[in-house]
Amino acid sequence: MSRYIVGRVGQALLVLWIAFTASFLLLQALPGDAILIKFQNPELGLGPEQIAALRDAYGVDSPLWQQYLQALGNFLTGNFGYSVVGSVPVSHELLTNLPATARLASLGFTLAVLIALGLAFLSTLAPLAWLRTAIQSIPSLFVSLPVFWLGIMLIQIFSFRLKWISVINPGEFEGLILPVITLAIPISAPLAQILIRNIDEVSTQPFVAVARAKGASPSWVLWRHVVKNALLPTLTIAGILFGELLAGAVITETVFGLNGIGGLTERSVRFQDTSVIQAIVVFSALSFVAVNLIVDLLYPVFDPRLRRLKGAPA
């Protein structure tokens, strides 16, 4: 097991280095650069000589390999440099925005899982056929809701009309309610769809028929026998959905005026703020790798067959 983990960590480091290098090269390939975009901006009203002097001071015209080695060296020593747009150290930006996004994303994901489970159970256990069909069509509705529109609608209804929840200057918990719902609904849809389909599939398996024949109630069968087996593919999808979660966070954060990695990414990409983008790319790769590693490690917990296979040769 420990050998497996070491291997996976090595793999992760490789992924990180590739992500860093690829993002560096891609950013260099884009027309212009952050310094040009910032100082050529008419709002500063700088003349050509002044801009040239600043470019020189920032060293943005030095050879590519030199810039790469310097960036990599800085990264390895934990110096992420400065955000050109925000004019603060990148570490400051990350420290402000990471926890906010982590909270929004984890709460959003938790709620998405709850909604998906709720929909899956209801669609299996609902007493009437037409009701089951209706519930099964909810995920298709959810997945087609644009996050942007959903956020604005929730704000308009619950904050501006009903005045139940404040979105301007809210309390810490209050401020999370609507964004978490906005983020969770579209994410819950694919989870629910997969779960419903897997439950249907597993339900046709012989062991389920046996359990029923033994006289187990439908909810007992579902909970003890079906769900456990239906969860595995869902877990895989959950790992992949993590990426989507970050993408949804960009829009949610903009609509609700929250700070977070989403908004920071959007701004940094818009202004080609290289050092910030690189830090975000490496961070995202890191969390993606970590989440998928956790998912892999969770498989044996849910499926004893995998546990036995891994344990046997050692």
């Binding site: 212009g32 500063l44 050509p48 301007i168 200057n169």
Partner: protein, 543 residues
């Protein structure tokens, strides 16, 4: 009369019915101290180095936490004392001597004295390569500052700099503590590091989301001619970054916020209908316009530029997209700007005349209706300018108007990098969006001079892609504008430039650009400096 009486009686009856007797109150006239103002801003501030105050979100913060040497009265545009109680200018406008008011301190307790001001202006005027500070756009020909005594200092200039006095009053000339300017430029996006002498002090900040200012209790050096002296009425200001237009307006109308910046013209009616007030202070500079790059052969011919001007229906732009707060431009600069001359006769809309001019210049409609000359189509490109209100809508409308006379205008959004690079290439961008706010005739030079913004892209200016285009006459006039010390002569030059630029059809001014704010009915005393940045010093609340 009758209706008023009836209403009064009705109100009295309502009061009696409610069982309360309210004595006539004059609370409306006497400012009340206290309260925190909730201000919804569209964008987060970036770098708070004072000369970066041209960016509205930056200026909106800097204007509360820093003071300037002088104050420009937004009504009269006269320069009045602020931190400096008096000043003298020599005849050639190469030496400015200022005397500070005594007892002024920065919020960290250090004195705001001649030495501190010298550090500020040496940085603004010369930049600082080591710490990466750029120079300030408003300070021309700066040489150095000389400290005479604790409260007296003298600025020396290499050449006459008559616009400098006004330059000491602009948003980009706020004085900060020398300790702030000892930090690298790259760290000044952190508002908590900006130490000024203003009526408010930065209390805390969540980058990109929220900024809290608190009142400075011992503040006692507002502009000398203000009736209100001493501390600000508000206890604090909370800036909340709210990028979504509908959320800002909904937040204001639902009572969750007190003031918002940036209301599009199409949202004005719902704000007015709800009894909220809209402020649209004029930015008093070069109007919202498009400028041509004559180095591009397609627009090198004066007749073509004149024809395009004639083909532009500016009234339609304002009627379709804007409101009464956006008056149609009548010259290069705003009618509220110093040196303004009405040139509306040169800006008429006449499609027939436009077509005739194109024909005279040798352009004839091709098979697809687009004008052609020697196998080349009159196909132009312009990039949308994001800070300008509804700029994409404006440009699309111009594209439709030009299409009616056979000219194709491509309106591009583009990524920031491509936009910045293409803007430097006259072949890629024969047309560019132009606008700059500043209440001094120097603003015209800021826009056109090759060593400044260089809208027309002249050879030897900001771009090395320019082949030949230079306008020595224009540059000579601009240099004269920046150095003429006699005010009347200077304004005459400003007038001459407006006429010349329009005669050459270098620029098509659309409308006078305001900065639009809306406030809740209980917000009083909101003021604006000369180019539309809000000042909260006199604001008080009756919530």
């Amino acid at each position: 009369m009758i209706s008023i009486r009836r209403r009064t009686l009705g109100a009295l009856a309502a009061l009696l019915l409610a069982g309360t007797i309210i004595s006539p109150s004059f609370a409306q006239d006497a400012p009340v101290q206290g309260g925190t103002l909730i201000y919804l801003e569209q964008q987060a501030h970036t770098n708070l180095y004072p000369p970066a105050g041209g960016f509205y979100p930056n200026g909106g913060v800097l204007n509360q936490i820093t003071d300037k040497l002088t104050y420009q009265n937004p009504q009269t545009l006269e320069i009045e004392p602020w931190l400096a109680e008096s000043w003298e200018v020599n005849d050639t406008a190469t030496e400015y001597t200022f005397k500070l008011r005594p007892g002024i301190t920065f919020s960290d307790g250090t004195p705001l004295d001649a030495k501190a001001v010298a550090v500020n202006y040496d940085t603004f005027g010369l930049g600082n390569k080591e710490l990466k500070y750029p120079v300030s756009e408003v300070i021309n020909n700066y040489d150095h500052a000389e400290v005479v005594d604790d409260l007296t200092f003298k600025f020396h200039f290499k050449h006459p700099s008559p616009g400098f006095l006004q330059g000491t009053a602009v948003i980009g000339s706020g004085i900060v503590s020398p300790a702030t300017l000892a930090l690298p430029y790259d760290e000044l996006g952190d508002a908590t590091k900006i130490v000024g002498s203003g009526p408010f002090v930065v209390e805390s900040e969540t980058l990109g989301k929220e900024l809290n200012l608190k009142v400075r209790e011992d503040y006692n050096w507002g502009p000398l001619k203000f009736e209100h002296q001493g501390r600000a009425y508000l206890d604090g200001i909370k800036y909340l970054i709210t990028p979504e237009d509908s959320v800002r307006i909904g937040g204001l109308l639902s009572g969750q916020a007190d003031i918002i910046r940036q209301i599009q013209a199409y949202d004005e009616p719902q704000v007015n209908d709800a009894g909220f007030e809209i402020f649209a202070p004029n930015t008093r500079g070069v109007n919202n316009s498009i400028a041509f790059r004559p180095d591009n052969p397609l627009v090198a011919d004066l007749k073509v530029r004149q024809a395009l001007t004639l083909a532009t229906n500016r009234q339609e732009i304002v009627d379709t997209l804007f409101s009464a707060n956006y008056p149609v431009a009548t010259s290069v600069i705003s009618q509220h700007a110093a040196g303004y001359v009405d040139e509306s006769a040169k800006l008429v809309f006449d499609q027939d005349k436009a077509k005739a001019l194109f024909a005279e210049a040798g352009w004839t409609p091709g098979a697809d209706g687009i004008l052609e000359k020697a196998g080349q189509k009159l196909d132009l490109t312009v990039y949308v300018s994001l800070p300008q209100p509804q700029n994409e809508g404006v440009l699309q409308l111009v594209a439709q108007q030009w299409a009616q006379v056979g000219v194709k205008l491509n309106v591009l959004a583009g990524d920031a990098g491509s936009r910045t690079l293409d803007q430097l290439d006259p072949l890629k961008t024969p047309v560019t969006v132009a606008m700059v706010g500043r209440a001094d005739p120097d603003v015209i030079k800021s826009g056109f001079y090759p060593k400044n913004r260089d809208w027309l892209l002249q050879k030897g200016g900001s771009s090395d892609k320019v082949q030949t285009f230079v306008d020595d006459k224009l540059n000579g006039l601009l240099e004269g504008l920046a150095s003429e010390t006699d005010r009347a002569k200077r304004l005459a030059i400003a007038g001459e430039i407006q006429g010349y630029v329009l005669d050459q059809a270098y620029i098509i001014p659309f409308f006078e650009e305001p900065q639009a704010f809306a406030t809740a009915p209980y917000v009083h005393g909101l003021g604006f400096e000369a180019v539309g940045r809000p000042s909260f010093y006199n604001v008080w609340l009756t919530r």
